[in-house]
Amino acid sequence: MYNNTNQHDAMEFLEFLLSRLHEELNTYNIPQKSEGQKTPQYNAHDKIPPLTEWEAYTERNNSVIANWFHGQMGSLLQCLTCGRTSSTYSAFTHLSLPVPIPDKKGKHVQLLDCLKELLKEERLTKGNCWHCPRCKSKRETKKQLTIYHLPPILITQLK
């Protein structure tokens, strides 16, 4: 039954191993903040938030696993109608890279190309539009991923 999903299993197992190891080795002992606390919103051009968020994250997650394998990524959404932006930052343990179709036939795709493909500006249209809080309706949006912190050991997975 699981013979044909080996690749998928390997990634899940790795995730499981790393998260469990992280749990065991984490030295942060204070219980997580209550859920009622709202996540702060920042402007797009504000340079500090990713850093402060990252500091808070590393304070909460202090283990060799977090130090070596965890990185931080930011996702920027911009409404194409009014220009309103929204950024969210999140930690990642591995990057799931899309494999781009090479321009010319027979050209080899490098890992860097996959990374570029991941960080490419993306347009959200129709079905998966972003609900813009200023326009109060679904608008065409551009989405950009940015890596703020690279871990010393980066785990990548090719989609």
């Binding site: 002992n29 500091e55 202090n62 070596w68």
Partner: protein, 388 residues
């Protein structure tokens, strides 16, 4: 209880299979062993015991920090295995119910294994009596023509069984021809009976390891390969003597542990030159593959190739996480312990093939890992559906 018939019949296996599957529906764990499945000659009472232990460990999460036996090499003798099984049963909470179904116990009872088989039967019978837990055992066996079954005496109780109170077990005699099932039914039942249920039992792994290790040719091949690789492989900087040390050793500072430097815009870390001192083996140790856990082995090999992580675990630093005296959220670093054990096997250079069963045992223990669970259930509980 014992079900006994005069003749071998697929019906008996059917009863066992049925019980195993129904037990799953009622959420009652059923430890089971189909003796007839193992057509090999080395089917032994110890195989039965270790299979039961492996299944028990799969059902209940035992604390590995207090159960040092689970971390030690698996004992080979039936007596040791029986004691281990008894200990584990004693640790279970009082309100559990557990079934043990053993099919064709007479397969084990040839003249060499007679005593050990009796021991196994007695151990199991005493377990049901010694505790208040609701543990029920079903032996399915033909009643005649085998010396082991004389333990039950067929109808009279033997000397050894006098410790076990009467009434705790009984023999149900199934007359010849009472339940004849047509050949078609048998054809369906034959498949689950031929499934390798034993692949999960622990001695099988030992057997695989010893078979591979015995072959001198293989050994030499690995030796040559190791020597070739020694010069270009990076290895963790750990002395071999240190592997047995109990105390955590200072680790190489691969990267700064804090992230304070990043605020000032300086690089958060610098890649240190990997050191290839070759003090340990080259880490080219194979892992035994059991069924389809190759993806796990791939991940473990991958992790062992991350030199800093290997070194961290090999040097035992998980025992005292980075800042001393601050307790971690998880009380015992169980996974780190078993992973370190596996990495030790990989890096020590003493093995050509290493048996990572401890990691597996742990994975099975933590039922939160859904794939293990699903895998476990598919193999054990739906044999008929899988094959029809």
């Amino acid at each position: 209880m014992v079900i006994a018939g005069r003749q071998r019949s697929p019906l008996y296996s059917y009863i066992t299979t049925f019980l195993v599957r129904e037990g799953h529906n009622w959420e009652t764990p059923v430890l089971h062993f189909f003796c007839g499945d193992e057509s090999r000659k080395d089917c032994h009472p110890s195989t039965l015991m270790s299979s039961l232990i492996a299944q028990l460990v799969g059902y209940y999460e035992f604390d590995l920090s207090t159960n040092q036996e689970l971390l030690n090499p698996i004992p080979e003798k039936t007596t040791e295995l029986s004691n281990l099984f008894k200990n584990l049963i004693n640790q279970l909470p009082e309100d559990i119910s557990l079934w043990i179904a053993i099919d064709g116990i007479t397969y084990l009872g040839n003249e060499f294994n007679k005593d050990e088989t009796s021991l196994v039967i007695q151990t199991l019978c005493k377990i049901t009596q010694a505790t208040n837990k609701s543990i029920r055992i079903l032996f399915v066996a033909p009643s005649q023509g085998n010396s082991v079954f004389e333990v039950f005496g067929g109808h009279t109780i033997r000397e050894e069984m006098k410790d076990v109170p009467k009434g705790s077990w009984g023999v149900l005699n199934v007359g010849r021809g009472a339940f004849e099932i047509p050949d078609r039914g048998r054809a369906m039942l034959d498949k689950p009976r031929t499934i390798k249920r034993f692949t999960r039992s622990l001695p099988d792994l030992h057997r695989g390891e010893s078979t591979l290790a015995r072959s001198e040719a293989v050994k030499d091949y690995w030796k040559v390969l190791r020597m070739k690789n020694l010069e270009r492989r990076h290895t963790p900087v750990v002395l071999k003597e240190d592997l047995t040390s109990d105390k955590p050793l200072p680790i190489t500072q691969w990267w700064p542990t804090g992230n304070s430097t990043s605020v000032k815009g300086e690089p958060r870390w610098q890649v240190p030159p990997f050191q290839s001192l070759g003090i340990l083996g080259t880490g080219t140790t194979g892992l035994i593959r059991q069924n389809n856990i190759c993806y796990m082995n791939a991940v473990i090999q991958y992790l062992s190739g991350i030199i800093p992580l290997s070194e961290y675990l090999l040097k035992g630093n998980y025992k005292t996480p980075l800042t001393n005296n601050i307790p971690t959220r998880v009380s015992s670093p169980a996974l780190s312990t078993v992973l370190a054990y596996t990495l030790r096997g990989i890096w020590s250079g003493d093995y050509s093939v290493f048996n990572q069963e401890k990691l597996r045992v742990y994975s099975i223990c933590s039922l939160e890992y859904k794939y293990i669970k699903a895998y476990y259930f598919t193999e054990y509980y739906c044999p008929v559906e899988n094959n029809v």
